[in-house]
């Protein structure tokens, strides 16, 4: 496994799109979270009871320990950026025919797909590191006094990682099955930005909102619920969202395992 990881790192470390992705993530994560912080400021700066109540009940969502949650939530909107990279990484293998060459040179087909899991894992790890940095710096800079409870919400780090890996796995599967970068990207963006949000809206409209929880992206979206300040103090909705997390960890793991199993099965049988 370590050997596969080393080989994938050899391939990826000099791929310009990888560094572009890193640069864009490094800019967008602080950017979107700054935007989130401004939303929060807008809520608490209201000179009414609600504003004062929000500030006293919620604390600063971008300070520790809430920053782990809030930053994970806002950062997860930008899964599109690493998803584009993941699609490029697999479709490049088809485009350059290196997927054949890797097998010709001695890899089994299983090893090739495993190496691609590692690619998705590397990208997930890098994105999670960027999130950690953003949440850590935000939490540290906005903390008031000595916050000994700074690790209280740290469970959102593995949750963010799992969500990113799960959603990038969907992107990977599209690239893997479709083989053409632009078609796979088109399908991914169309589904992620239009089809699934529309389905969510329709299911909610037809009074079946729970069903929307099982749409491919929403299964893992539920790992990181809305931060409380966005729910405008709706305690019931917020605690219901928190209750869903554990089950959705299982659903996410099941869906992601099924996707990779499909990739393994297809690759074992098809001509390269």
């Amino acid at each position: 496994m370590l050997q596969l990881l080393k080989i994938e790192w050899l391939k990826i470390k000099k791929y310009p799109a990888f560094w572009w992705m890193l640069g864009i993530v490094a800019l967008t994560y602080p950017g979107i979270n700054w935007f989130g912080y401004k939303l929060y400021e807008g809520t608490v700066s209201r000179h009414d009871m609600a504003g004062a109540l929000a500030k006293s009940l919620l604390g600063n969502p971008f300070a520790f320990p809430e920053s782990w949650h809030s930053v994970a939530y806002f950062s997860s909107f930008f899964v599109i950026i690493p998803a584009i990279l993941v699609i490029m990484v697999i479709t490049n293998e088809y485009n350059y025919k290196t997927h054949r060459q890797n097998v010709i040179d001695g890899w089994s087909r299983t090893e090739f797909v495993t190496s691609k899991i590692l690619d998705v894992f590397i990208v997930t790890l890098v994105v999670t590191l960027m999130y950690l940095l953003t949440a850590g710096i935000s939490g540290f800079m906005l903390q008031e006094g000595n916050q000994s409870n700074w690790t209280d919400q740290i469970k959102y780090v593995p949750l963010f990682m799992l969500q990113t890996f799960a959603q990038l796995s969907i992107a990977f599967m599209l690239g893997f099955l479709v083989r053409k970068a632009f078609i796979a990207l088109g399908i991914f963006l169309f589904y992620y930005l239009i089809v699934e949000p529309t389905l969510r809206g329709l299911l909610t409209y037809f009074k079946m909102p729970d069903l929307a929880n099982y749409l491919p992206f929403n299964i893992s979206n539920k790992l990181i619920p809305y931060p409380q300040f966005l729910k405008r103090l709706d305690e019931d909705a917020y605690s219901k969202a928190l209750d869903l997390i554990n089950m959705h960890v299982i659903y996410t793991l099941l869906l992601t395992s099924a996707l990779w199993w499909l990739c393994y099965s297809v690759y074992k049988k098809r001509d390269l």
């Binding site: 050997q3 080393k6 080989i7 050899l10 391939k11 000099k14 791929y15 310009p16 490049n92 350059y96 025919k97 290196t98 054949r100 060459q101 890797n102 097998v103 010709i104 040179d105 001695g106 890899w107 089994s108 087909r109 090893e111 049988k269 098809r270 001509d271 390269l272």
Partner: protein, 298 residues
């Protein structure tokens, strides 16, 4: 002689096209084995199957007398169809990937492989900046990396200039002398005839013949003769005992005898006794080209 590769009844179909039909042959250790056939005869499908990028519908094969194991391919340096490399990586980095996957050779072997294919000066350039010939040479370098026991080369001279083709031919001869087994698929008959010890000829997925070049090419004796009075010579040879046919081309008479029955001294004596003095008398092997067209045009 032990077989490096045994192929047993391999068939492969693409929809209505039968790409390979019950193909079986053996590749002896240490030979230069040419797989010949016109375009679309199944050469690349054959090699793709042997290298596990294509799945056969039926039949089996084994490398090194072992079952179809993935690790077998690590002992084989291969160039299949086109040079397949990461466009954004340099030659050195691409060969690092090849080396890491195949486990063949050390880091210093990369420089040696690049030197062999004359890419040392451009070793740090990205693959996408290479010309067609340079890409082909890098693919050959990758196949040679770490000195594998067996080489599988599909159209190795594609994209090479005349000097490159000559160098490739010399390289194959040099490697063959070292005892390596080399399997070459090509439609360039001249190229194959110059380097191969064994051949297999495919047509529309069917194996027409396979074996040592001498056995495949020689199924009759051919003798070329000439004299200053060619018309008298034609009359005389019509009655030579054992002569199956006599065909005149370019002032040369091509006589055919059953395999192993021609006797140059007897022919010379017979002509002389009948008043014709020969100015040329040569035993000829049938050219691969002649044999190839004979087999593939039927």
């Amino acid at each position: 002689m032990q077989s490096v590769l045994s192929i047993d009844n391999i068939s492969k179909r693409y929809g209505r096209i039968q790409a390979l039909k019950n193909v079986s042959f053996e590749v002896p250790e240490g030979c230069v084995f040419g797989i010949l056939g016109p375009n679309g005869s199944g050469k690349t499908t054959m090699l793709g199957t042997l290298l596990n990028v294509l799945k056969s519908d039926s039949g089996s094969f084994s490398w090194f007398g072992q079952a179809n194991k993935d690790s077998n391919r690590k002992r084989i340096g291969s160039l299949l169809e086109t040079p397949n490399f990461y466009h954004y990586l340099s030659a050195v980095d691409n060969l690092k990937v090849t080396q890491a996957i195949s486990g063949r050779g050390k880091r210093s072997d990369i420089d040696e492989a690049l030197e062999t294919v004359k890419l040392t000066e451009r070793k740090k350039s990205k693959f996408k900046t290479y010309s067609l010939g340079m890409k082909q040479r890098l693919a050959i370098g990758a196949a040679l990396l770490g000195n594998p026991e067996v080489l599988v080369l599909d159209e190795p001279t594609n994209g090479l200039d005349p000097v490159g083709i000559l160098e490739m031919r010399e390289l194959i001869k040099h490697l063959a002398k070292q005892g390596k087994t080399i399997i070459i698929a090509s439609h360039l008959l001249d190229e194959v005839e110059k380097v191969c010890t064994h051949v297999a000829i495919l047509k529309k997925g069917e194996l027409l013949t396979a074996g040592a070049v001498d056995e495949v090419l020689v199924n009759e004796d051919i003798v070329e003769i000439s004299a200053s009075d060619i018309s008298k010579l034609q009359q005389v040879v019509a009655n030579i005992p054992g002569c199956l046919s006599a065909v005149l081309t370019d002032k040369l008479l091509h006589l055919k005898f059953a395999l192993g029955t021609s006797n140059l001294e007897a022919i010379n004596q017979y002509c002389f006794n009948n008043g014709v003095v020969l100015n040329q008398l040569t035993a000829r092997k049938k050219s691969l080209e002649t044999k190839f067209f004979e087999l593939t045009n039927n």
